[in-house]
Symmetry: C2
DNA sequence: TTGAAAGCGCTAACAC
DNA sequence: GTGTTAGCGCTTTCAA
């Protein structure tokens, strides 16, 4: 294998010269091979090989205004839920031979802006965005400027922007309802910031369930905001909670996602071993693959991540008024040990 | 927010006309604002705002040959190990205001080719690639044509291509050595295909450890190839193993990664409950965040994923001969319950 | 400090 | 079937 040449990449001109044809013919070989005489095409293909010619996609895109790249911006690439969504997206894209540019905002408005901008400047075919705390303003602007957008994990209230989401309010109610049914009358909600729509909706759902049980949400539900929506955040929050109660664990806890729940479990075990862990009824959210494999297998609210990604990508590509533009999936409760030891 | 106009995006020409200046001046405002008279600049900026002008990055890249995008191709985006690596890459890139285009080959040569091609045609600044079963051939070609490449998770044997990897052979030896020390003299290795370099090296390491213990690897080690390097693959393989042995679990198992180990645990629990699970000593690889939270907390070989990504990105960006071009990190064994119940 | 004009590499008319 | 040429939107000389 030769060393990397610092020479300029070969261009259609070079290929044309090498093959003794015009650039138009080279372009034809590249894009409409059937229109070129066999013998000419062979010569051009030989020249392409000889020069290791790789077409400049940037120039092509500029000229032909055809793109095959879709951008996706998720909240947190380290959260398996979002990688499942991404996988669903890719599954759909690859059907049309399109490719995915994946990025993670980490709910940092600055990063979100940067990536939206990058996608827009790059002229992607469209983008799939999970908006963060900063709201949908930035996305709306992108959309207003003419780029196709589908909101992910966010019910769209914006005319012209389709969306794919899960009914988070129903999910919150599912989680809390389960704990109430099991006789718990005090709930802690380990939630993310209220700037994130999912967190607000799940909290509302929790309160719905409490009201439905004939109780007063303000008395029953104690909401604690985690420092981050990952294991670390759940761990920290649970430590604070236990410290507040002189070493006792809260009776029943709803966590905003499985990672937070896993962190909360970790804290409980660290502070008081299995005994403390089992004194709490815990429900997570997302039903990650690994949630069933935990020391205390997690009761969790399942969201159809892969399907959501697939559907969102389909809406973007099909851009078809006959397809439903606002899809809401229903979550589902999966009951395991973490919520059934206690009580 | 206005509906998406199907109108063409505004161009520098439009901005120039609106502001009553030439396109050159608009370009200067965009790229060298200090060289433009305050008052002119203000007028141009106003025009930009009025027209919602977003520069066409494709045209810019074509003309100025400056890129800020780096491509990364990992084996499996759903494996937290690789998302950690990706995160390390991003951390380094964002220092230079560069952005990451992330893709997953799923060890499918076809997908690998597609993404390498996409990156190359797009003219990325460079790429970070975890090669799959298909080997490094495709990457070498890309490199030979002049694109900067850093191999990830693969010790480079290719002149001019830097690499960042972990010593997998040492890791395999660490895992097996631990089990041997605990008195096991039959090991099952749940491995991925030998077309993947990591798998071969880890197997060699396992055999090293056996030899070091004065035993014969051919007698001690039984290697089983999983159908996929994820929980599903581990689950399937373990079921086959147990069936082969009339319902008994193997004494000691080294898994090619934590996901496989988690799947293996799942199978054991499903087949024979905690009793069967605890009759096996199990070691994983990667030390995922959640591995410590499992029903049977996983003994695992830790690889510094984040640091690897960071380092690889640094090498790519710095492109500096004074920086070591072949970095090999050393893995580390983390002992937990999964390997210490049994025996 | 600004404007005019060339050209990045490609595709798509259109002419032959 | 193939060649010629304009031009995608931008940056970058060079001149004024």
């Amino acid at each position: 294998m030769a060393a990397p040449t610092s020479r300029r990449r070969a261009s259609v001109m070079d290929v044309a010269r090498e093959a003794g044809v015009s650039v138009g013919t080279v372009s034809n070989v590249l894009n409409r091979p059937d229109v070129v005489k066999d013998e000419t095409r062979a010569r051009v293909e030989q020249a392409i090989a000889a020069l290791s010619f790789v077409p400049n996609g940037v120039a092509r895109q500029l000229r032909s205004r055809t793109v095959t790249t879709v951008g996706a911006l998720v909240l947190d690439i380290r959260n398996p839920y979002f990688t499942d969504v991404a996988r669903g997206i890719e599954d759909r894209l690859s059907l049309d031979d399109h490719t995915l540019m994946l990025a993670s905002s980490d709910d940092d408005p600055e990063r979100e802006r940067r990536y939206l901008r990058l996608f827009e400047e790059h002229g992607v075919l469209g983008m799939l965005v999970v908006p963060g705390s900063a709201g949908t303003r930035a996305v709306e602007e992108v959309h207003a400027r003419g780029t196709r957008v589908v909101l992910l994990d966010h019910p769209s209230s914006i005319p012209g922007i389709p969306s794919v989401a899960v009914d988070d309010r129903a999910g919150g109610a599912l989680a809390a309802g389960h704990l109430l049914e099991r006789g718990h009358d005090r709930l802690v909600l380990l939630n993310g910031p209220h700037t994130i729509r999912q967190c607000v909706d799940r909290q509302r759902g929790v309160r719905d369930a409490v009201e439905r049980a004939g109780l007063d949400p303000d008395e029953v539900v104690r909401e604690v905001t985690v420092s981050g929506m990952d294991a670390r955040g759940g761990d920290d929050a649970m430590r604070r909670l236990v410290a507040d109660r002189d070493g006792a664990a809260p009776e029943a806890v709803v966590c905003v996602n499985d990672l937070v729940a896993i962190g909360a479990q970790r804290a409980l075990r660290a502070l008081g071993g299995t005994a403390l862990l089992r004194s709490t009824a815990l429900v997570g959210y997302d039903d990650l693959d690994i949630s069933s494999e935990l020391a205390s297998p997690l009761t969790s609210v399942r969201q159809p991540a892969l399907e959501m990604g697939y559907r969102a990508a389909a809406i973007l590509l099909e851009d078809d008024r006959s397809v439903e533009q606002h899809v809401v999936f229903q979550p589902e409760l999966v009951v395991r040990d973490s919520s059934t030891y206690a009580g």
